[in-house]
Symmetry: C2
């Protein structure tokens, strides 16, 4: 409020993405916010000092070995997934909110991967570039596939699943979904059920898109048994988290005609300072021609941070004003 004598709100930004976007965030906030930053190079003592003052923290991870944060009343995640947060290690009365905005990029990635599987632009281009007309309508070569009329099964029907379904509807696919909580099907979804209908979804789908949160309930949801329910011609897209799929079972299916292919954006191992070039999995997925593999980037687009920082700024303003927060995470424990 104008003229309010209330002190500045102290916000600590932790990690590469929040710190890189500090000025963008500042430009969307008033002078009543003090924005501090911390990256590992600043050292542990700096983290201890800055966390002492912080009333709100913007960070993607919170573990039990974090220094005390006695004044922290908001943990604002700069992303959607909260599998990096140990909720039991947070101070009492600390709210947690996340942000989305990545569903646009992820949905575009999913449709791109599915269309590439149907059409095969990559290999059609390579063949024609070498000079062969073998794939042409003109010489009546073999036709390529269509997305129209195919069945796409969505595992998870949150922001991402809904963004994918909206785009698929325009392609006249048959789209079905399973999700944690029973809900009414939206327009364009043939059916949506709870997780107990997963086997049915897997049996019917030409494409299975994983877009659920990782939790003990979804860990290894796709395993030898559930993979066996899928059509051998089916194609798997994982934009959820690596461990939703049993790595060995997936590799076995991809190398034994159990599954026609997969687009994988999420993995089992991630780079660290110690191992910047770590392989993303124990199995050599990078040797498989029927895999499209990307290093966790599906939602990481040039429009993402502008949208995310706007949402975070709005939430910090609400936090300071004592208003209702956007995207609160109601953590009720797992299982």
């Amino acid at each position: 409020m104008p003229g309010d004598a209330q002190s500045d709100t102290c916000v600590l930004l932790i990690g590469a993405h929040p710190v890189r976007n500090r000025d963008l965030l500042a430009s969307k906030l008033g002078a009543e916010f003090e924005l501090n930053t911390w990256v590992p190079d600043d050292g542990d003592n700096a983290l201890v000092d800055r966390l002492k003052q912080a009333e709100a923290v913007v960070a993607m991870r919170w573990t039990s070995d974090m220094p005390p944060a006695p004044n922290m009343r908001l943990l604002q995640l700069p992303g959607a997934g909260y599998d990096g947060i140990d909720f039991t290690a947070l101070p009492d009365q600390c709210d947690v909110s996340n942000v989305y905005e990545h569903e646009i990029g992820i949905a575009e990635y999913v449709v791109a991967a599915i269309l590439e599987r149907c059409i095969g632009l990559r290999s059609l281009d390579a063949t024609f570039r070498k000079g062969s007309w073998q794939d042409s309508l003109i010489v009546a070569g073999p036709p390529h596939g269509e997305l129209s009329g195919k069945t796409v099964g969505l595992v998870g029907y949150g922001h991402i699943g809904q963004a994918v379904a909206k785009r698929l509807q325009a392609f006249d696919t048959r789209t079905i979904a399973v999700t944690r909580r029973q809900r009414e099907p939206d327009e364009g979804l043939e059916w949506v059920g709870t997780m107990d209908r997963l086997p049915e979804l897997l049996e019917q789908s030409d494409f299975v898109v994983l877009a659920c949160a990782l939790s003990p309930d979804t860990h290894h949801l796709i395993n030898t048994e559930t993979l066996a329910r899928m059509k051998p011609s089916a194609y798997l897209v994982n934009v959820a988290r690596g461990p939703v799929v049993d790595e060995d079972a997936l590799y076995a299916a991809l190398t034994s005609d159990g599954l026609s292919g997969a687009a994988l954006d999420v993995w089992y191992a991630y780079p660290s300072d110690e191992e910047p070039d770590i392989r993303p999995a124990r199995n050599p997925f990078h040797e498989l021609p029927n895999v499209t593999m990307t290093p966790h980037l599906a939602g990481y687009t040039d429009g993402l941070w502008e949208r995310r920082i706007s949402t975070i700024a709005d939430n910090l303003r609400r936090f300071r004003a004592g208003e209702e927060l956007r995207n609160p995470i109601e953590w009720v424990g797992f299982g």
Copy 2:
């Protein structure tokens, strides 16, 4: 009509695709149709004989050197484009109909090409396969692009343009179009104008999709002058006909930062028995990394012929019954 003493209707199928689909067509027609076929290996005399009897011909080309077809009252094209038809060489009172159904495959191809330009799955996959995490959100590498919010300009708004626009709408693009005849914009199209608004469309578009018929009006519609109207960052998709674009001007733009890239499915030279491996253009487009090139196959999908043959069967039935034909082509000359 049952019990009708009318004689059988004699239909001649000419060319690889109609002849290959003869049995599928027969399965959709009654016994009152006699289906003959002709391919070049059958020889010219066979063509003379079979055309004498034919009341309907299914063929993609009709030139002035065709033998007489005195009984022919329907030329049914097994495709959409009628640039292979010399209308002045047809017998009097011969109706001409075409078929579509390829707009589904072509629209999927167009969206796939546009998404590949935005995301770049091909190169992201290649980099990660080699072991680098450089493009990952995790290491805060450079983000990729989004289709959402981009402006797509459609040149031609017939079956193909409309099918593309329907799919793009789900991606929240801004879609604009120019077409031969003024029409009201459909839902999801920001504006649609006549061809005189082409410069405006080119100036505004991030993607330009050519989906018009080839005619003297559209020959070299995209040339040095109109290419200069486009943003240097713009991307061109040609699923119309090669000569809608001036080949030399396109090659110059692609090799001089005049245009960021192109997806080309239609060409300037096509294979023949004499030159089965002919290069599709005089310029070496196959050497350009910013081009995706395919040999005229965008609409040639595994679902195409089932749909087309159903339409052709329905039209032959209407022809025999004297009913109104589907997709009649009203040829009024060019210019």
